[in-house]
């Protein structure tokens, strides 16, 4: 039995869409071709949607049209958020993607039950479980990033046991439904438990772990979409889901490597409370602080400056002031570059986007491996709102909870300047010996205001 010509045509168009999706990601590899990648993705998407609308089974277009319009109306504002809000927007879109997958899976189950073949029921369960836990987990992550929820990790005794047993019950239900798909009343339970699990999974996760968690949720969203592809027998979906899943997976591997932690450690070992070790010695050590004027004099007299931005820069919205500083120093012939740690900020690549938004050329943004050998020839390393990623204890102190984490070697620069609100330790509560070095100058104040003051002082030097 050969399918009618229209069905063949739809399949061919899906094939073209798939090719465009792969090209889209391939062109994403470099900034020069990346926008072409977006065009390819859009073209593939448009083709696939148009082809789907030709599907013979569709008897009524009214709901489809309403939903497409409504979705676009929600999508446009989501595409126009501030760059500082991109991490929460991304988490929110993982939630939407997962919601779509979980809903379609639920509908498919009730349409087919009780005659669902074992394998089909297996992937359907996976689709619904992954979709549901990604939905609530991503909403929680978005809430934490938007600061609607407390960013500090919340932990309690037996947390991991509670979470893992919940997940085990959900998987158990799935196995039971595979053996006997007729138990339609158990199905809602298989949705509800992962929904609760998603919430509980994110509760113990702190802001500093968000880059890994967002990547992991990205991967889950992709995998659930691929499972949906198996259920609907759609190769287009399987491939798109697999691409998204592997992208999220690679990013999570990069993120957890950059923190020297395993996935399980990120998910099950809340940071922060592990140690309060070096507290005793703290009082005897002294720090050197400096004014904006002194900092400006040193910066203006140097040849090479490396700026190390962190989440604190984003919080203070200081990126535009940083760009003014970049302009002022560059004009005086100072070579200014930026060192970007993989987990700086709240999602992969967060700092790059903020600095690009502030019009800093991307060839001045260097990743950790590229910039680290350069610090020995750097006059000033200027740290703005970053802490743990510059902590030399990660290299030298086996007792530190971040020992072994790859860091930016700022302590090898001739002078280190740290803009910081006060001496309180960073998010993870880990003491940073960098601040007590003789070569370190602490610049106490709000990042935005302080950088602005340095810019004014540099300009004054130029005139005086």
């Amino acid at each position: 039995m050969t399918p009618p010509i229209a069905d063949r045509a739809i399949q061919i168009i899906y094939l073209i869409s798939t090719a465009l999706f792969i090209l889209s990601l391939k062109w994403m590899s470099a900034p020069s071709s990346a926008r072409r990648g977006v065009r390819a993705g859009e073209a593939g998407m448009l083709l696939a949607i148009c082809a789907t609308l030709l599907h013979r089974g569709i008897v009524d277009y009214s709901w489809i049209a309403i939903a497409l319009v409504l979705g676009s109306m929600i999508g446009v504002p989501l595409g126009r958020v501030q760059m500082t809000a991109v991490p929460q927007r991304t988490a929110l879109s993982h939630a939407f993607g997962a919601l779509c997958v979980a809903l379609v899976g639920t509908a498919e189950y009730y349409l087919r039950a009780p005659h669902v073949p074992a394998f089909m029921m297996g992937v359907l369960s996976m689709e619904v479980i992954l979709g549901s836990l990604t939905f609530t987990g991503s909403l929680m992550a978005a809430g934490k990033l938007q600061e609607l929820l407390p960013q500090r990790p919340i932990t309690y005794k037996g947390q991991n046991i509670v979470n893992l047993s919940l997940l085990a019950v959900a998987v158990g239900l799935a196995v039971y439904l595979v053996t006997d798909p007729g138990h339609t009343r158990l199905f809602p339970l298989m949705i509800a438990i992962p929904l609760v699990f998603g919430v509980l999974m994110i509760i113990p996760i702190g802001g500093a772990d968000m880059p890994t968690v967002i990547s992991l949720l990205n991967s889950y969203a992709g995998l659930s979409a691929a499972a949906m592809g198996f259920v609907l027998d759609s190769k287009l979906l399987i491939i798109a889901g697999a691409l998204d899943g592997s992208s999220g997976f690679i990013l999570s591997v990069i993120m957890s490597k950059a923190m020297n932690r395993s996935f399980t450690n990120v998910l099950f070992g809340a940071f922060g409370q592990v140690q309060v070790a070096a507290a005793g010695a703290q009082d005897t050590r002294t720090v050197r602080s400096a004014t904006a004027e002194e900092a400006a004099t040193i910066l203006a007299a140097s040849n090479t400056v490396v700026v190390v931005p962190g989440y604190g820069m984003a919080v203070a919205q200081a990126q535009h002031k940083v760009r003014e500083l970049y302009d002022a120093l560059t004009k005086r012939g100072v070579d200014v570059r930026f060192a970007i740690h993989p987990v700086a900020g709240r999602m992969p690549g967060h700092m790059n986007v903020l600095l690009a938004e502030a019009d800093i050329p991307y060839d001045k943004l260097l990743d950790m491996d590229a910039i680290n050998p350069e610090f020995t020839q750097t006059d000033v390393a200027l740290i703005i709102g970053a802490n743990d990623v510059t902590n030399p204890a990660a290299r030298t102190d086996p007792g530190s909870p971040i020992y072994g984490m790859p860091i930016l070697d700022v302590d090898k620069a001739k002078t280190v300047m740290v803009i910081k609100r006060g001496m309180s330790p960073g998010f993870a509560g880990i003491d940073n010996p960098l601040y007590y070095l003789d070569k370190t100058l602490m610049l106490f104040g709000d990042a935005k205001a302080f950088v602005g003051e340095i810019v004014r002082q540099v300009a004054r030097e130029a005139h005086g």
Binding site: S29, R89, L243, G349
Partner: protein
């Protein structure tokens, strides 16, 4: 059953292709990469469209419609913001262009 095996092959190959392609993406572009894959993932909308359009049951039409809304918002928002971000990336070699229009 042969379809299932064929689909597993497709999944495996796509995962390897994804791995090789995405491994090469510069860390500079990791944020736009994530928003782009998010937008591409919204291809799940094709399943939702068929579900909502087939009208097989009240439940499936309702769930399908909500699913279309969710994935379309991802699709539109994802492509929009990816393009906005990429427009911001400029080199120092290129002549300094006008600043991107502020949103909001």
């Amino acid at each position: 059953m042969t379809d299932l095996i064929a689909n597993l092959y497709v999944f495996m190959m796509a995962a390897f292709v994804g791995f090789e392609v995405i491994r090469r993406v510069s860390p500079l572009l990791h944020t736009p990469l994530m928003s782009l894959t998010n937008a591409l993932d919204a291809i799940a909308v094709v399943g939702a469209i068929i579900l909502a359009g087939e009208h097989k049951s009240g439940l499936s039409t309702a769930l399908g419609t909500i699913a279309i809304v969710a994935s379309t918002s991802n699709l539109v928002g994802g492509f929009l913001i990816t393009d906005r971000m990429l427009r911001m990336f400029k080199t120092s070699r290129s002549k300094k262009p006008e600043r991107p229009e502020r949103q909001g």
